[in-house]
Symmetry: C2
Subunit: 314 residues, 2 copies
Protein backbone atom coordinates (compact mmCIF):
# COMPACT_ATOMS: atom_id res chain seq x y z
CA UNK A 1 0.00 0.00 0.00
CA UNK A 2 1.01 3.61 -0.49
CA UNK A 3 1.43 5.69 2.67
CA UNK A 4 -1.19 8.09 1.31
CA UNK A 5 -3.78 5.27 1.16
CA UNK A 6 -3.16 4.53 4.83
CA UNK A 7 -3.46 8.22 5.71
CA UNK A 8 -6.74 8.33 3.73
CA UNK A 9 -8.03 5.51 5.94
CA UNK A 10 -7.07 7.47 9.07
CA UNK A 11 -8.94 10.48 7.71
CA UNK A 12 -12.03 8.61 6.50
CA UNK A 13 -12.84 6.80 9.75
CA UNK A 14 -13.59 8.08 13.25
CA UNK A 15 -13.44 5.34 15.88
CA UNK A 16 -10.34 3.11 15.84
CA UNK A 17 -9.37 0.07 17.86
CA UNK A 18 -5.68 -0.82 17.73
CA UNK A 19 -4.67 -4.43 18.36
CA UNK A 20 -1.21 -5.41 19.60
CA UNK A 21 0.31 -8.88 19.91
CA UNK A 22 0.30 -11.04 23.04
CA UNK A 23 3.38 -11.13 25.31
CA UNK A 24 3.77 -7.51 24.22
CA UNK A 25 7.17 -6.07 23.41
CA UNK A 26 8.40 -2.52 22.87
CA UNK A 27 7.61 -2.55 19.15
CA UNK A 28 3.99 -3.66 19.26
CA UNK A 29 3.24 -1.31 22.20
CA UNK A 30 5.32 1.56 20.82
CA UNK A 31 3.58 1.23 17.44
CA UNK A 32 0.15 0.82 19.03
CA UNK A 33 0.35 3.83 21.34
CA UNK A 34 2.08 6.04 18.76
CA UNK A 35 -0.77 5.31 16.33
CA UNK A 36 -3.38 5.86 19.03
CA UNK A 37 -1.95 9.28 20.01
CA UNK A 38 -1.54 10.24 16.35
CA UNK A 39 -5.20 9.40 15.59
CA UNK A 40 -6.40 11.24 18.70
CA UNK A 41 -4.37 14.28 17.59
CA UNK A 42 -6.31 14.04 14.30
CA UNK A 43 -9.51 14.40 16.33
CA UNK A 44 -10.40 10.72 16.12
CA UNK A 45 -11.34 8.33 18.90
CA UNK A 46 -8.80 5.54 19.42
CA UNK A 47 -7.92 2.87 21.96
CA UNK A 48 -5.16 0.27 22.22
CA UNK A 49 -5.78 -3.26 23.49
CA UNK A 50 -3.57 -6.20 24.41
CA UNK A 51 -4.49 -9.73 25.42
CA UNK A 52 -2.04 -9.65 28.32
CA UNK A 53 -2.56 -6.05 29.45
CA UNK A 54 0.10 -3.35 29.47
CA UNK A 55 3.24 -4.24 31.47
CA UNK A 56 4.77 -1.79 33.99
CA UNK A 57 8.07 -2.12 32.16
CA UNK A 58 6.81 0.08 29.31
CA UNK A 59 4.60 2.40 31.37
CA UNK A 60 6.49 5.55 30.29
CA UNK A 61 4.61 5.17 26.99
CA UNK A 62 1.13 5.11 28.56
CA UNK A 63 1.39 6.76 31.93
CA UNK A 64 -1.08 9.45 30.78
CA UNK A 65 -3.21 7.16 28.57
CA UNK A 66 -6.87 6.75 29.41
CA UNK A 67 -9.24 4.48 27.54
CA UNK A 68 -11.96 6.27 25.58
CA UNK A 69 -15.54 5.04 25.65
CA UNK A 70 -16.83 4.33 22.12
CA UNK A 71 -17.88 1.55 19.75
CA UNK A 72 -14.97 0.95 17.31
CA UNK A 73 -15.72 0.96 13.60
CA UNK A 74 -12.21 0.37 12.20
CA UNK A 75 -9.74 -2.24 13.53
CA UNK A 76 -5.98 -1.92 12.98
CA UNK A 77 -3.40 -4.52 14.07
CA UNK A 78 0.22 -3.39 14.47
CA UNK A 79 3.29 -5.67 14.48
CA UNK A 80 0.99 -8.72 14.35
CA UNK A 81 2.19 -11.34 11.82
CA UNK A 82 -0.45 -13.97 12.53
CA UNK A 83 -3.96 -13.67 14.07
CA UNK A 84 -3.16 -16.31 16.73
CA UNK A 85 -0.53 -13.88 18.06
CA UNK A 86 -3.39 -11.63 19.19
CA UNK A 87 -3.81 -14.04 22.11
CA UNK A 88 -6.79 -15.51 23.91
CA UNK A 89 -7.95 -12.13 25.21
CA UNK A 90 -8.53 -10.89 21.65
CA UNK A 91 -10.06 -14.12 20.31
CA UNK A 92 -12.93 -12.44 18.49
CA UNK A 93 -10.49 -10.49 16.30
CA UNK A 94 -8.84 -13.73 15.17
CA UNK A 95 -11.83 -14.57 12.94
CA UNK A 96 -11.47 -13.98 9.23
CA UNK A 97 -12.34 -10.45 8.24
CA UNK A 98 -12.33 -9.10 11.80
CA UNK A 99 -9.24 -6.90 11.26
CA UNK A 100 -9.49 -4.09 8.72
CA UNK A 101 -5.82 -3.16 8.38
CA UNK A 102 -2.55 -4.71 9.51
CA UNK A 103 0.69 -2.70 9.55
CA UNK A 104 3.68 -4.96 10.05
CA UNK A 105 7.36 -5.58 9.26
CA UNK A 106 7.42 -9.41 9.37
CA UNK A 107 7.95 -11.00 5.94
CA UNK A 108 6.11 -14.00 7.39
CA UNK A 109 2.90 -11.93 7.79
CA UNK A 110 -0.13 -14.14 7.10
CA UNK A 111 -2.15 -11.39 5.34
CA UNK A 112 -5.10 -12.14 7.60
CA UNK A 113 -6.48 -8.60 7.57
CA UNK A 114 -8.67 -7.08 4.84
CA UNK A 115 -5.77 -4.78 4.00
CA UNK A 116 -2.14 -5.47 4.84
CA UNK A 117 0.83 -3.14 4.67
CA UNK A 118 4.06 -5.10 5.20
CA UNK A 119 7.60 -3.81 4.72
CA UNK A 120 9.79 -6.82 5.42
CA UNK A 121 13.13 -5.06 5.24
CA UNK A 122 12.27 -2.55 7.96
CA UNK A 123 13.64 -3.19 11.45
CA UNK A 124 10.48 -2.35 13.38
CA UNK A 125 6.77 -1.71 12.83
CA UNK A 126 7.35 1.59 14.64
CA UNK A 127 9.73 2.67 11.89
CA UNK A 128 7.00 2.10 9.27
CA UNK A 129 4.54 4.13 11.33
CA UNK A 130 7.10 6.92 11.56
CA UNK A 131 7.33 6.99 7.75
CA UNK A 132 3.52 7.11 7.48
CA UNK A 133 3.25 9.91 10.05
CA UNK A 134 5.97 11.93 8.31
CA UNK A 135 4.25 11.43 4.96
CA UNK A 136 1.04 12.92 6.41
CA UNK A 137 2.79 16.20 7.17
CA UNK A 138 0.97 16.30 10.51
CA UNK A 139 2.64 17.17 13.81
CA UNK A 140 4.43 14.36 15.63
CA UNK A 141 4.33 15.07 19.38
CA UNK A 142 7.06 14.18 21.89
CA UNK A 143 5.14 11.20 23.30
CA UNK A 144 4.56 9.82 19.78
CA UNK A 145 8.30 10.19 19.04
CA UNK A 146 9.14 8.46 22.33
CA UNK A 147 6.85 5.51 21.51
CA UNK A 148 8.34 5.20 18.02
CA UNK A 149 11.93 5.40 19.30
CA UNK A 150 11.15 2.71 21.89
CA UNK A 151 9.74 0.39 19.22
CA UNK A 152 12.76 0.85 17.00
CA UNK A 153 15.34 0.56 19.79
CA UNK A 154 13.83 -2.55 21.36
CA UNK A 155 13.38 -4.48 18.10
CA UNK A 156 17.02 -3.87 17.09
CA UNK A 157 18.62 -4.50 20.50
CA UNK A 158 19.49 -0.79 20.50
CA UNK A 159 20.78 -0.78 16.91
CA UNK A 160 22.95 -3.81 17.63
CA UNK A 161 21.40 -6.56 15.52
CA UNK A 162 21.58 -7.44 11.83
CA UNK A 163 18.07 -6.08 11.18
CA UNK A 164 19.36 -2.52 11.77
CA UNK A 165 19.72 -0.60 8.49
CA UNK A 166 20.93 2.90 7.62
CA UNK A 167 17.27 4.01 7.57
CA UNK A 168 16.88 2.76 11.16
CA UNK A 169 19.70 5.04 12.30
CA UNK A 170 18.29 7.96 10.32
CA UNK A 171 14.86 7.49 11.91
CA UNK A 172 16.54 7.45 15.35
CA UNK A 173 18.50 10.61 14.51
CA UNK A 174 15.27 12.39 13.55
CA UNK A 175 13.30 11.14 16.55
CA UNK A 176 16.05 12.39 18.89
CA UNK A 177 15.11 15.92 17.84
CA UNK A 178 12.02 15.49 20.03
CA UNK A 179 12.03 15.54 23.83
CA UNK A 180 12.17 11.77 24.35
CA UNK A 181 14.88 11.24 27.03
CA UNK A 182 16.18 8.35 24.93
CA UNK A 183 19.01 7.52 27.36
CA UNK A 184 16.51 6.88 30.12
CA UNK A 185 14.33 4.80 27.77
CA UNK A 186 17.40 2.73 26.86
CA UNK A 187 18.45 2.32 30.48
CA UNK A 188 14.99 0.95 31.32
CA UNK A 189 14.83 -1.26 28.24
CA UNK A 190 18.37 -2.65 28.24
CA UNK A 191 20.17 -2.12 31.55
CA UNK A 192 17.61 -2.55 34.32
CA UNK A 193 16.49 -5.94 35.60
CA UNK A 194 14.18 -6.91 38.45
CA UNK A 195 15.77 -8.35 41.58
CA UNK A 196 14.09 -11.66 40.74
CA UNK A 197 15.55 -11.67 37.25
CA UNK A 198 19.02 -10.88 38.55
CA UNK A 199 18.72 -13.80 40.97
CA UNK A 200 17.59 -16.20 38.25
CA UNK A 201 20.32 -15.20 35.82
CA UNK A 202 22.83 -15.57 38.62
CA UNK A 203 21.65 -19.08 39.47
CA UNK A 204 21.30 -20.22 35.86
CA UNK A 205 24.70 -18.83 34.84
CA UNK A 206 26.33 -20.55 37.80
CA UNK A 207 25.01 -23.87 36.53
CA UNK A 208 25.98 -23.34 32.89
CA UNK A 209 27.75 -26.35 31.44
CA UNK A 210 30.36 -26.25 28.68
CA UNK A 211 30.84 -29.10 26.20
CA UNK A 212 32.72 -29.99 23.00
CA UNK A 213 35.82 -27.93 23.70
CA UNK A 214 33.70 -25.07 25.07
CA UNK A 215 32.03 -24.58 21.67
CA UNK A 216 28.66 -25.62 23.10
CA UNK A 217 27.17 -24.18 26.30
CA UNK A 218 23.99 -25.40 27.94
CA UNK A 219 21.66 -24.27 30.70
CA UNK A 220 18.80 -26.32 32.12
CA UNK A 221 15.81 -24.82 33.91
CA UNK A 222 13.79 -27.47 35.69
CA UNK A 223 10.40 -26.98 37.33
CA UNK A 224 12.08 -27.72 40.65
CA UNK A 225 14.54 -24.86 40.07
CA UNK A 226 11.75 -22.50 39.05
CA UNK A 227 9.78 -23.29 42.18
CA UNK A 228 12.76 -23.09 44.54
CA UNK A 229 13.77 -19.60 43.32
CA UNK A 230 10.63 -17.96 44.66
CA UNK A 231 10.44 -15.78 41.55
CA UNK A 232 7.45 -15.34 39.20
CA UNK A 233 7.50 -17.78 36.29
CA UNK A 234 7.36 -14.96 33.70
CA UNK A 235 10.84 -13.91 34.85
CA UNK A 236 12.19 -17.16 33.40
CA UNK A 237 11.42 -16.05 29.83
CA UNK A 238 14.15 -14.92 27.48
CA UNK A 239 17.13 -16.60 29.12
CA UNK A 240 18.08 -18.33 25.86
CA UNK A 241 20.72 -15.78 24.90
CA UNK A 242 22.84 -16.55 27.99
CA UNK A 243 24.73 -19.64 26.75
CA UNK A 244 25.82 -17.87 23.55
CA UNK A 245 27.29 -14.97 25.55
CA UNK A 246 30.32 -17.08 26.48
CA UNK A 247 33.37 -16.42 24.33
CA UNK A 248 34.04 -19.20 21.80
CA UNK A 249 30.57 -20.74 22.11
CA UNK A 250 28.90 -21.21 18.71
CA UNK A 251 25.94 -23.33 19.88
CA UNK A 252 23.96 -22.16 22.92
CA UNK A 253 21.27 -24.49 24.23
CA UNK A 254 18.61 -23.68 26.82
CA UNK A 255 16.52 -26.55 28.17
CA UNK A 256 13.34 -25.58 29.96
CA UNK A 257 11.07 -28.13 31.58
CA UNK A 258 7.42 -27.95 30.59
CA UNK A 259 6.08 -31.06 32.33
CA UNK A 260 7.52 -34.32 33.64
CA UNK A 261 9.77 -35.65 30.86
CA UNK A 262 8.81 -32.85 28.44
CA UNK A 263 11.44 -30.21 27.67
CA UNK A 264 11.33 -27.14 25.47
CA UNK A 265 14.67 -26.53 23.78
CA UNK A 266 15.80 -23.07 22.64
CA UNK A 267 18.87 -22.93 20.42
CA UNK A 268 20.96 -19.88 19.58
CA UNK A 269 23.92 -19.96 17.19
CA UNK A 270 26.64 -17.69 15.81
CA UNK A 271 27.15 -17.43 12.04
CA UNK A 272 29.07 -20.73 12.15
CA UNK A 273 25.91 -22.81 12.56
CA UNK A 274 22.27 -22.96 11.45
CA UNK A 275 19.99 -23.18 14.49
CA UNK A 276 16.90 -24.10 12.45
CA UNK A 277 18.68 -27.07 10.86
CA UNK A 278 19.84 -28.22 14.30
CA UNK A 279 16.30 -28.01 15.70
CA UNK A 280 14.81 -29.46 12.52
CA UNK A 281 16.62 -32.72 13.35
CA UNK A 282 14.42 -32.91 16.48
CA UNK A 283 11.23 -31.93 14.63
CA UNK A 284 11.43 -28.24 15.46
CA UNK A 285 12.40 -25.16 13.47
CA UNK A 286 12.80 -21.41 13.45
CA UNK A 287 15.35 -18.95 12.16
CA UNK A 288 19.00 -19.35 11.18
CA UNK A 289 20.32 -17.91 14.49
CA UNK A 290 17.39 -18.73 16.81
CA UNK A 291 15.26 -21.88 16.72
CA UNK A 292 13.47 -24.32 18.99
CA UNK A 293 12.11 -27.82 19.43
CA UNK A 294 10.59 -30.10 22.06
CA UNK A 295 12.23 -33.31 23.30
CA UNK A 296 10.67 -35.95 25.56
CA UNK A 297 12.60 -37.98 28.16
CA UNK A 298 14.42 -37.41 31.41
CA UNK A 299 16.68 -34.37 31.64
CA UNK A 300 19.73 -36.61 31.30
CA UNK A 301 18.29 -38.30 28.20
CA UNK A 302 17.40 -34.95 26.63
CA UNK A 303 20.88 -33.58 27.27
CA UNK A 304 22.49 -36.72 25.86
CA UNK A 305 20.43 -36.51 22.65
CA UNK A 306 21.29 -32.85 22.17
CA UNK A 307 24.99 -33.38 22.83
CA UNK A 308 25.16 -36.39 20.53
CA UNK A 309 23.73 -34.31 17.68
CA UNK A 310 25.90 -31.32 18.59
CA UNK A 311 28.99 -33.54 18.45
CA UNK A 312 27.99 -34.70 14.94
CA UNK A 313 27.53 -31.19 13.52
CA UNK A 314 30.23 -29.19 15.30
CA UNK B 1 41.12 23.72 14.00
CA UNK B 2 39.53 23.47 10.57
CA UNK B 3 39.36 19.99 9.07
CA UNK B 4 41.32 21.28 6.08
CA UNK B 5 44.24 22.28 8.35
CA UNK B 6 44.38 18.73 9.70
CA UNK B 7 44.28 17.31 6.18
CA UNK B 8 47.10 19.69 5.22
CA UNK B 9 49.17 18.20 8.05
CA UNK B 10 48.48 14.69 6.77
CA UNK B 11 49.62 15.78 3.31
CA UNK B 12 52.70 17.72 4.40
CA UNK B 13 54.30 14.99 6.49
CA UNK B 14 55.45 11.49 5.61
CA UNK B 15 56.17 9.34 8.68
CA UNK B 16 53.47 9.30 11.38
CA UNK B 17 53.33 7.70 14.80
CA UNK B 18 49.83 7.43 16.30
CA UNK B 19 49.51 7.27 20.09
CA UNK B 20 46.49 5.71 21.81
CA UNK B 21 45.59 5.76 25.52
CA UNK B 22 46.47 3.07 28.06
CA UNK B 23 43.88 0.40 28.99
CA UNK B 24 42.78 0.82 25.36
CA UNK B 25 39.10 0.85 24.44
CA UNK B 26 37.29 0.62 21.12
CA UNK B 27 37.40 4.34 20.48
CA UNK B 28 41.13 4.98 20.95
CA UNK B 29 42.01 1.83 18.95
CA UNK B 30 39.33 2.39 16.32
CA UNK B 31 40.46 5.99 15.87
CA UNK B 32 44.14 5.03 15.88
CA UNK B 33 43.91 2.26 13.32
CA UNK B 34 41.43 4.13 11.11
CA UNK B 35 43.89 7.04 10.98
CA UNK B 36 46.82 4.70 10.37
CA UNK B 37 45.10 2.98 7.41
CA UNK B 38 43.92 6.32 6.04
CA UNK B 39 47.47 7.73 6.12
CA UNK B 40 48.92 4.58 4.56
CA UNK B 41 46.29 4.85 1.78
CA UNK B 42 47.63 8.38 1.22
CA UNK B 43 51.06 6.83 0.58
CA UNK B 44 52.43 7.77 3.99
CA UNK B 45 54.19 5.61 6.56
CA UNK B 46 52.22 5.19 9.79
CA UNK B 47 52.21 3.04 12.91
CA UNK B 48 49.95 2.79 15.96
CA UNK B 49 51.30 2.23 19.47
CA UNK B 50 49.76 1.51 22.84
CA UNK B 51 51.36 1.25 26.27
CA UNK B 52 49.47 -1.97 27.02
CA UNK B 53 49.63 -3.59 23.57
CA UNK B 54 46.64 -4.46 21.40
CA UNK B 55 44.05 -6.74 23.10
CA UNK B 56 42.64 -9.81 21.32
CA UNK B 57 39.16 -8.46 21.95
CA UNK B 58 39.56 -5.87 19.19
CA UNK B 59 41.73 -7.94 16.83
CA UNK B 60 39.25 -7.68 13.94
CA UNK B 61 40.55 -4.12 13.54
CA UNK B 62 44.20 -5.12 13.22
CA UNK B 63 44.30 -8.73 12.12
CA UNK B 64 46.11 -7.67 8.90
CA UNK B 65 48.13 -4.84 10.45
CA UNK B 66 51.92 -5.05 10.36
CA UNK B 67 54.23 -2.49 11.89
CA UNK B 68 56.26 -0.48 9.41
CA UNK B 69 59.96 0.18 9.98
CA UNK B 70 60.69 3.92 9.96
CA UNK B 71 61.71 6.85 12.14
CA UNK B 72 58.55 8.90 12.91
CA UNK B 73 58.62 12.63 12.23
CA UNK B 74 55.07 13.59 13.24
CA UNK B 75 53.30 12.36 16.38
CA UNK B 76 49.47 12.29 16.66
CA UNK B 77 47.54 11.27 19.79
CA UNK B 78 43.91 10.16 19.38
CA UNK B 79 41.27 10.07 22.14
CA UNK B 80 43.94 11.06 24.69
CA UNK B 81 42.73 13.78 27.09
CA UNK B 82 45.82 13.92 29.30
CA UNK B 83 49.46 12.89 28.61
CA UNK B 84 49.51 10.62 31.69
CA UNK B 85 46.84 8.51 29.97
CA UNK B 86 49.47 7.45 27.44
CA UNK B 87 50.74 5.08 30.12
CA UNK B 88 54.19 4.00 31.30
CA UNK B 89 55.04 2.34 27.97
CA UNK B 90 54.81 5.70 26.18
CA UNK B 91 56.53 7.75 28.88
CA UNK B 92 58.76 9.70 26.49
CA UNK B 93 55.71 11.14 24.71
CA UNK B 94 54.40 12.56 28.00
CA UNK B 95 57.05 15.30 27.96
CA UNK B 96 55.99 18.77 26.94
CA UNK B 97 56.13 19.28 23.20
CA UNK B 98 56.52 15.58 22.37
CA UNK B 99 53.11 15.27 20.69
CA UNK B 100 52.49 17.33 17.56
CA UNK B 101 48.72 16.95 17.25
CA UNK B 102 45.96 15.61 19.49
CA UNK B 103 42.51 14.76 18.09
CA UNK B 104 40.02 14.21 20.89
CA UNK B 105 36.40 14.54 22.03
CA UNK B 106 36.91 15.05 25.78
CA UNK B 107 36.06 18.59 26.94
CA UNK B 108 38.55 17.94 29.76
CA UNK B 109 41.42 17.70 27.22
CA UNK B 110 44.59 19.19 28.75
CA UNK B 111 45.85 20.74 25.48
CA UNK B 112 49.23 19.09 26.01
CA UNK B 113 50.04 18.74 22.30
CA UNK B 114 51.48 21.47 20.07
CA UNK B 115 48.16 21.48 18.21
CA UNK B 116 44.87 20.25 19.64
CA UNK B 117 41.59 19.57 17.87
CA UNK B 118 38.83 18.90 20.42
CA UNK B 119 35.12 18.65 19.70
CA UNK B 120 33.56 18.12 23.09
CA UNK B 121 30.01 17.52 21.95
CA UNK B 122 30.93 14.57 19.73
CA UNK B 123 30.30 11.09 21.10
CA UNK B 124 33.58 9.51 19.99
CA UNK B 125 36.99 10.51 18.65
CA UNK B 126 36.25 8.11 15.78
CA UNK B 127 33.29 10.26 14.77
CA UNK B 128 35.58 13.31 14.48
CA UNK B 129 38.04 11.33 12.36
CA UNK B 130 35.17 10.25 10.11
CA UNK B 131 34.28 13.93 9.55
CA UNK B 132 37.92 14.74 8.74
CA UNK B 133 38.22 11.80 6.31
CA UNK B 134 34.97 12.77 4.57
CA UNK B 135 36.13 16.36 4.29
CA UNK B 136 39.28 15.20 2.48
CA UNK B 137 37.22 13.64 -0.31
CA UNK B 138 39.56 10.62 -0.26
CA UNK B 139 38.37 7.03 -0.36
CA UNK B 140 37.35 5.45 2.95
CA UNK B 141 38.01 1.70 2.77
CA UNK B 142 35.92 -1.01 4.47
CA UNK B 143 38.47 -1.59 7.24
CA UNK B 144 38.63 2.14 7.98
CA UNK B 145 34.82 2.24 8.17
CA UNK B 146 34.83 -0.80 10.48
CA UNK B 147 37.35 0.84 12.85
CA UNK B 148 35.34 4.07 12.90
CA UNK B 149 32.04 2.25 13.52
CA UNK B 150 33.66 0.28 16.37
CA UNK B 151 34.91 3.48 18.02
CA UNK B 152 31.52 5.13 17.78
CA UNK B 153 29.54 2.06 18.89
CA UNK B 154 31.75 1.27 21.89
CA UNK B 155 31.91 4.84 23.24
CA UNK B 156 28.10 5.18 23.14
CA UNK B 157 27.23 1.72 24.51
CA UNK B 158 25.83 0.97 21.05
CA UNK B 159 23.95 4.29 20.76
CA UNK B 160 22.42 3.76 24.20
CA UNK B 161 23.97 6.51 26.31
CA UNK B 162 23.28 10.22 26.67
CA UNK B 163 26.38 11.16 24.65
CA UNK B 164 24.68 9.81 21.48
CA UNK B 165 23.47 12.63 19.22
CA UNK B 166 21.62 12.72 15.91
CA UNK B 167 25.00 13.12 14.17
CA UNK B 168 26.20 9.89 15.82
CA UNK B 169 23.31 7.98 14.25
CA UNK B 170 23.90 9.63 10.89
CA UNK B 171 27.59 8.66 10.96
CA UNK B 172 26.55 5.06 11.78
CA UNK B 173 24.04 5.07 8.92
CA UNK B 174 26.74 6.20 6.49
CA UNK B 175 29.36 3.76 7.78
CA UNK B 176 26.92 0.86 7.36
CA UNK B 177 27.10 1.43 3.62
CA UNK B 178 30.57 -0.17 3.81
CA UNK B 179 31.21 -3.89 4.28
CA UNK B 180 31.73 -3.78 8.05
CA UNK B 181 29.67 -6.71 9.41
CA UNK B 182 28.46 -4.39 12.17
CA UNK B 183 26.24 -7.03 13.82
CA UNK B 184 29.27 -9.23 14.40
CA UNK B 185 31.27 -6.27 15.72
CA UNK B 186 28.44 -5.50 18.14
CA UNK B 187 28.11 -9.11 19.23
CA UNK B 188 31.83 -9.18 20.07
CA UNK B 189 31.77 -5.80 21.76
CA UNK B 190 28.53 -6.08 23.74
CA UNK B 191 27.28 -9.67 24.00
CA UNK B 192 30.31 -11.92 24.36
CA UNK B 193 32.13 -12.40 27.64
CA UNK B 194 35.05 -14.65 28.60
CA UNK B 195 34.27 -17.68 30.74
CA UNK B 196 36.25 -16.03 33.55
CA UNK B 197 34.21 -12.86 33.31
CA UNK B 198 30.95 -14.81 33.34
CA UNK B 199 32.12 -16.61 36.47
CA UNK B 200 33.10 -13.37 38.22
CA UNK B 201 29.86 -11.60 37.39
CA UNK B 202 27.98 -14.63 38.59
CA UNK B 203 29.81 -14.69 41.93
CA UNK B 204 29.67 -10.92 42.47
CA UNK B 205 25.97 -10.71 41.57
CA UNK B 206 25.20 -13.55 43.96
CA UNK B 207 26.75 -11.52 46.79
CA UNK B 208 25.06 -8.22 45.91
CA UNK B 209 23.53 -6.57 48.98
CA UNK B 210 20.49 -4.29 48.95
CA UNK B 211 19.99 -1.46 51.44
CA UNK B 212 17.73 1.51 52.19
CA UNK B 213 14.54 -0.01 50.84
CA UNK B 214 16.40 -1.51 47.86
CA UNK B 215 17.34 1.99 46.62
CA UNK B 216 21.03 1.28 47.22
CA UNK B 217 22.84 -1.85 46.01
CA UNK B 218 26.41 -2.74 46.86
CA UNK B 219 29.01 -5.26 45.76
CA UNK B 220 32.36 -5.85 47.41
CA UNK B 221 35.36 -7.39 45.68
CA UNK B 222 38.05 -8.35 48.17
CA UNK B 223 41.57 -9.51 47.31
CA UNK B 224 40.64 -12.87 48.82
CA UNK B 225 37.71 -13.17 46.39
CA UNK B 226 39.88 -12.16 43.42
CA UNK B 227 42.48 -14.76 44.30
CA UNK B 228 39.99 -17.56 44.98
CA UNK B 229 38.26 -17.15 41.59
CA UNK B 230 41.29 -18.24 39.63
CA UNK B 231 40.57 -15.56 37.03
CA UNK B 232 42.98 -12.88 35.73
CA UNK B 233 42.78 -9.63 37.68
CA UNK B 234 42.02 -7.59 34.55
CA UNK B 235 38.69 -9.43 34.33
CA UNK B 236 37.60 -7.66 37.52
CA UNK B 237 37.55 -4.25 35.79
CA UNK B 238 34.30 -2.59 34.82
CA UNK B 239 31.96 -4.34 37.23
CA UNK B 240 30.72 -1.02 38.64
CA UNK B 241 27.59 -0.93 36.48
CA UNK B 242 26.20 -4.13 38.05
CA UNK B 243 24.60 -2.68 41.22
CA UNK B 244 22.70 -0.04 39.24
CA UNK B 245 21.22 -2.70 36.96
CA UNK B 246 18.74 -3.72 39.68
CA UNK B 247 15.30 -2.19 39.28
CA UNK B 248 14.62 0.63 41.72
CA UNK B 249 18.26 1.12 42.66
CA UNK B 250 19.34 4.76 42.35
CA UNK B 251 22.75 4.43 44.04
CA UNK B 252 25.04 1.58 42.99
CA UNK B 253 28.25 1.13 44.96
CA UNK B 254 31.18 -1.12 44.08
CA UNK B 255 33.89 -1.61 46.69
CA UNK B 256 37.17 -3.03 45.43
CA UNK B 257 40.03 -3.82 47.73
CA UNK B 258 43.39 -2.30 46.76
CA UNK B 259 45.48 -3.28 49.79
CA UNK B 260 44.82 -4.22 53.42
CA UNK B 261 42.33 -1.65 54.72
CA UNK B 262 42.41 0.39 51.47
CA UNK B 263 39.31 0.28 49.28
CA UNK B 264 38.53 1.90 45.94
CA UNK B 265 34.88 2.93 45.71
CA UNK B 266 33.05 3.28 42.37
CA UNK B 267 29.66 4.93 42.47
CA UNK B 268 27.00 4.91 39.77
CA UNK B 269 23.71 6.79 40.03
CA UNK B 270 20.49 7.34 38.09
CA UNK B 271 19.26 10.87 37.40
CA UNK B 272 17.91 11.04 40.97
CA UNK B 273 21.37 11.49 42.50
CA UNK B 274 24.74 13.15 41.84
CA UNK B 275 27.54 10.57 42.07
CA UNK B 276 30.31 13.20 42.12
CA UNK B 277 28.74 14.98 45.11
CA UNK B 278 28.40 11.65 46.94
CA UNK B 279 32.07 10.80 46.30
CA UNK B 280 33.16 14.37 46.99
CA UNK B 281 32.04 13.84 50.60
CA UNK B 282 34.78 11.17 50.84
CA UNK B 283 37.40 13.29 49.06
CA UNK B 284 36.79 11.80 45.61
CA UNK B 285 35.03 13.07 42.51
CA UNK B 286 34.07 12.38 38.92
CA UNK B 287 30.99 12.82 36.79
CA UNK B 288 27.34 13.28 37.70
CA UNK B 289 26.43 9.62 37.01
CA UNK B 290 29.81 7.94 37.61
CA UNK B 291 32.34 8.90 40.27
CA UNK B 292 34.85 7.37 42.67
CA UNK B 293 36.80 7.78 45.89
CA UNK B 294 39.09 5.87 48.22
CA UNK B 295 38.23 4.95 51.81
CA UNK B 296 40.53 3.43 54.41
CA UNK B 297 39.45 0.96 57.08
CA UNK B 298 38.18 -2.58 57.33
CA UNK B 299 35.55 -3.67 54.81
CA UNK B 300 32.87 -3.43 57.50
CA UNK B 301 33.97 0.10 58.43
CA UNK B 302 34.04 1.19 54.80
CA UNK B 303 30.56 -0.20 54.17
CA UNK B 304 29.22 1.45 57.33
CA UNK B 305 30.61 4.86 56.29
CA UNK B 306 29.12 4.57 52.81
CA UNK B 307 25.73 3.45 54.09
CA UNK B 308 25.60 6.17 56.71
CA UNK B 309 26.16 8.82 54.03
CA UNK B 310 23.77 7.08 51.63
CA UNK B 311 21.09 7.13 54.34
CA UNK B 312 21.56 10.89 54.78
CA UNK B 313 21.23 11.75 51.08
CA UNK B 314 18.63 9.24 49.89
Amino acid sequence: MEYSEIIDIFEKHDRFLILTHKSPDGDTLGSGFALCYFLRDMGKQANVVNSDGFPDRYDFMYVDYTEQDFEPEYIIAVDVADPTLLGSGLLKYQQEGAVDLCIDHHVSNKHFAKLTHVEGGIAAAAQILYCIFKHSGRKITDIIAKCLYTGIATDTGCFKYENTTPSTHIAAAELMAYDIDFANVNRRMFDVKSKGRIKIEQIVTGRMEYYLGDRCAMIAITRELMQSCGVAEAEFDGLASIPLSAEGVVLGITIKQRHTNVYKISVRTTDEMDASVFCGYFGGGGHIRAAGCEIHGTLEEVKAQLLERAGQVL
